[in-house]
């Protein structure tokens, strides 16, 4: 029986969050990325790392808000995790619902396809040939997912595989479960 995650996500977003215009967020994020590129002298690898690190710091805090507002318990399997991330997590914060795709046979890996990415609306990467090959513009999302999942004892490798800004047909993030941090699971859950 699959739960109505989509409805839960929409309900939480509609009734339990304060909303602002996404454009302001897009502009702010754009400014931050641009500033980082300038300060690191267009060393895009460093910019990617910095964005991921920012995302990680955000993710470890954001998870509490997610849990407080949704009251979700532990997922039975990684597939459930995928559903909740896409239909509730993303909806609740970014008001968008990516599609879960390419679920691996061993149940440990999947891709998220973002049809619309509020971070990158109307953005064009700089025209030097480097950015298109090396910069992952929305890399902060990678850090957020990694940090948030770590706090619920899931060690997951997260990375971008495709980005529309780079000329790819879609924007995709790959999530691979390394292991469940069994030692860190708090006592008292069944």
């Amino acid at each position: 029986m699959s739960k109505p995650y989509k409805l839960i996500g929409e309900d939480v977003y509609k009734n339990r969050t304060e909303k602002i215009n996404s454009e302001l967020f897009t502009l702010t994020y754009g400014s931050v990325v641009a500033q980082l590129c300038r300060d690191y002298n267009n060393d895009y690898k460093k910019v990617n790392e910095q964005l991921e690190s920012m995302g990680y710091n955000i993710g470890i805090r954001l998870i509490e808000e997610f849990l407080a507002k949704t009251n979700f318990g532990r997922c039975i399997n990684f597939k459930e995790t995928a559903e909740i991330i896409s239909k509730v997590g993303f909806k609740m914060f970014l008001n968008t619902t990516p599609t879960v795709d390419n679920f691996s046979a061993d149940g440990k890996q999947f891709n998220l396809i973002l049809e619309d990415n509020p971070l990158a609306e109307f953005v064009e990467l700089p025209d030097d040939n480097k950015a298109v090959k090396e910069l992952w513009y929305s890399n902060v999302l990678v850090g957020v997912l990694k940090g948030a999942l770590q706090m619920v004892q899931l060690d997951v490798d997260v990375s971008f595989v495709k980005d529309i800004l780079r000329g790819d047909p879609s924007t995709e993030i790959k999530l691979r479960l390394n292991k469940i941090l069994k030692d860190e699971i708090p006592a008292g859950e069944d």
Binding site: I60, R61, L62, I63, E64, E65, L67, A68, K69, T70, N71, F72, G73, R74, M151, V152, E184, P186, A187, G188, E189, D190
Partner: protein, 151 residues
């Protein structure tokens, strides 16, 4: 409903927040900070031991919707004068509330869920706060006080 005291523990059992509400009128004595730390650590350990003791036969079958992940660990302590409830989140944060007798489990759980909400709002969004450290945010304290009076 009358809540008497609130304790917040991080995932390692360290005390990060403690507060008594209306201590004079409720007749609560102030302990030394060391005593509070020991109390917190003890509760954390007992909670874990109880989780280990619970036979699998008693594991709950139904999904609970309250957000309290505390299924098999120490959940409730009843004495003549007060009740103590433990609420745990997926991230290992424990919220322990000591309430007057007569306060139902649902009310206490709702109170603790609200504390969790305030925590995620005022502590997580405070850039000066480092995870797992003692909470010294005045804003958080004020909100918790308002919540305790409202309940």
């Amino acid at each position: 409903m009358k809540v008497l005291s609130l304790y917040l523990l991080n995932k390692s059992g360290g005390l990060i927040y403690q507060r008594d509400f209306n201590p004079e009128s409720n007749g609560i004595n102030k302990l030394s900070s060391n005593d509070y730390l020991i109390t917190a650590g003890t509760l954390h350990s007992i909670h874990a031991i109880v989780a280990g003791l619970t036979p699998p036969v008693l594991y709950p079958i139904q999904e609970n919707q309250t957000g309290n992940q505390n299924q098999t660990g120490l959940f409730q302590v009843e004495t003549e004068k007060f009740n103590l409830f433990i609420y745990q989140t997926l991230t290992g944060l424990k919220i322990i509330s000591i309430v007057q007798k007569g306060v139902s489990q649902e009310t206490a759980t709702r109170f603790m869920a609200n504390v969790h909400s305030i925590y995620s709002d005022y502590v997580m969004k405070n850039p000066f706060y480092t995870l797992d450290m003692p909470i010294k945010c005045q804003l958080f304290s004020n909100k918790v006080l308002l919540l305790s009076e409202a309940s």
